[in-house]
Amino acid sequence: MSEHVDAVTGPAAPTAVSTGVRERSQRELVLRRFLRHKAAVISLVLFVAIVVLAFVGGALWRYDYADITPDASVPPSAEHPFGTDNLGHDTFAQVLRGTQRSIEIALLIAFLAGLFGTLWGAFSGYYRGLTDSVMMRIADLVLTLPLLAVAAVLTRATSGSWWFVALVIAALQWAYVSRVVRGVVLSLREKEYIEASRALGATDRWIIFRHLIPNALGPIIVNITILVAAAILVETALSFLGLGVQPPDTSLGLLVSEADTAVSTRPWLFYFPGAFIVLIALTINFIGDGLRDAFDPTQRKVRA
């Protein structure tokens, strides 16, 4: 990607300036292509709004998620926009708190799995040979472990604090990222600019961190975005089975699971947290779609 840009900003740059056409940086091009994807832009705005609502709104809202109000099991009203549960918890406050937790968990998973998977894949793809075989067999092994079972066993054994749930899911998800990064690095490492860098005496570490990883950033970012959406769904599913986040803490999955039996009598307890999960996962998926188009215009699904 960037070796193409080097060619543009290199010798071609002066002529471009003299004709009055401003050159665009790679970052600018990606941003412009992303902004053209309407669904992705709307999703980004919505997602930021949800995050702000959860973290800022949650702190400002008149009830805390643990507060027990005198109104038990009341339907949505001005006082309680999402109603209350049978103990008198304000559902709006609980949904905001659950959203915070679910987003925190998803972002932590994306960070850990993204970082580790990128390093693992980059080293594996760069060194090839025996190192590659061993590292990729380990990644394959991690992929064969069924996420739900392992996460269930591990979170059952501990208190189920939110960061531990994130850690367990990340420990099983990094292998996906490492496979993608390895694939990209395998093709990048044969490019001329890597050869040039090596001829100039660059160390392996320099090549990996200065050339390979930055140039693989497009696919990495896209995959991490998809990972965030998947992580939200996995965490909520685990919490729904009672194997993720444990009370008194709460997450969107736990809220849905608690409302499971109340769908017909107090439907608001079930629909609001569920709708938030759908909204978060949907916006992230669309953002990911927009990023894919922006980073890789050859696979464009949206007309330019």
Partner: protein, 326 residues
């Protein structure tokens, strides 16, 4: 191709052993197996606990315990369960059948929907219909399966109330007592299947329809399709006879590869609809800290996943003559 298949199966053996070993260590380290027994009131005598420990091989060192288990499995013994009345081997076979029935119907439904929607989307690229299908696919991709399943279950209950008699069953995989012959049993099983099948199918539908659309677009933009059009074949004939057949090849692989995801999905579906399948078996076993039962589940799933991955690769070679395995 035969030697390729054999080689793949041989490579799979150490993978299965390694992954069961990892899970075995995790389960062993993750809690006191006899916590339920020891927590009883009044507390059981030391002798009772000792007998139980011996029955569950807990008196052996960890590595030896794994060895006892894996050598037992080879001879068809899946190890003792914490629950004295449960024979793990027998239980897992019965439950595998229940889950497989659910997955099989869900796969057929999801495939049919995904292929139709994917092809229609691709043929009418960038039309309103395409955008509508795209949105629907993303929606199902983003929908938590448990939420959707509970929603369907609720819909089923409302429908039954509306009609006044059960049309679709919302609990269990079959009725406890069914009056009548084979036909009555089939109808009973069928109406238990409807909602869980829809619920499980729509999870896969989102991703598969996107995949089918992309694969169809690839083919529609290829030279040979252009040539078929140029020589005067009708649009319909080109799409159905020439394009679709090629575009189905990657679909076959993706379906087989997604088997692991379907088993995870089935865990959720079975929990919501209270089926006594593999998913319920896992959740109960984890809950009871039943180490050997969890391992048996893992073993069955791991073997199934490996077999389906192999089927995916072989199907690929079978359907696409350009691919040959040495």
């Amino acid at each position: 191709m035969l030697s390729y298949t054999l080689r793949r199966l041989l490579v799979a053996v150490p993978v299965v052993i390694a992954s069961t070993f990892i899970v075995f260590i995790l389960v062993t380290l993750s809690g006191v197996p006899l916590a339920n027994l020891k927590g009883r009131n009044p507390p059981p005598s030391a002798q009772v606990i000792a007998v139980e420990e011996q029955r569950l091989h807990l008196d052996q060192p960890v590595l030896q315990r794994y060895w006892t288990w894996i050598t037992g499995v080879v001879q068809g013994d899946f190890g003792p369960s914490v629950r004295t009345n449960v024979d793990i081997g027998h239980e897992i076979v019965t439950r595998f059948g229940v889950t497989l029935r659910l997955i099989a119907f869900a796969v057929v439904l999801a495939l049919l929907l995904a292929i139709v929607v994917g092809v229609v989307s691709a043929v009418n690229q960038y039309s309103g219909l395409d955008y509508g299908f795209t949105f629907a696919a993303f929606l199902f991709l983003s929908m938590p399966s448990f939420w959707f399943a509970v929603l369907l279950k609720q819909g089923g209950i409302s429908l039954n109330n509306l009609v006044g008699e059960p049309v679709v069953y919302t609990i269990g995989e079959k009725s406890v007592v069914v009056e009548g012959g084979t036909w009555a049993h089939l109808v009973d099983a069928g109406s238990h299947l409807i909602l869980p099948t829809i619920s499980l199918a729509l999870i896969s539908f989102g991703a598969w329809s996107r995949f089918q659309r992309a694969s169809m677009l690839d083919v529609l933009n290829s030279d040979y399709v252009l040539f078929a059009r140029a020589k005067g074949l009708s649009r319909r004939r080109v799409v159905v006879k020439h394009a679709l057949r090629t575009a189905l090849i990657p679909m076959a692989t993706i379906t087989a590869l997604d088997f692991a995801a379907l088993i995870s999905g089935a865990v959720i579906t079975e929990t919501v609809f209270q089926w006594r399948g593999l998913g319920d078996f896992l959740v109960t076993s984890v809950d009871q800290r039943d180490a050997y039962a969890v391992l048996a589940w893992l073993l069955v799933v791991a073997v199934a996943v490996i077999v389906f991955n192999l089927i995916a690769d072989l199907l690929y070679a079978l359907l696409d003559p350009r691919i040959r395995y040495e």
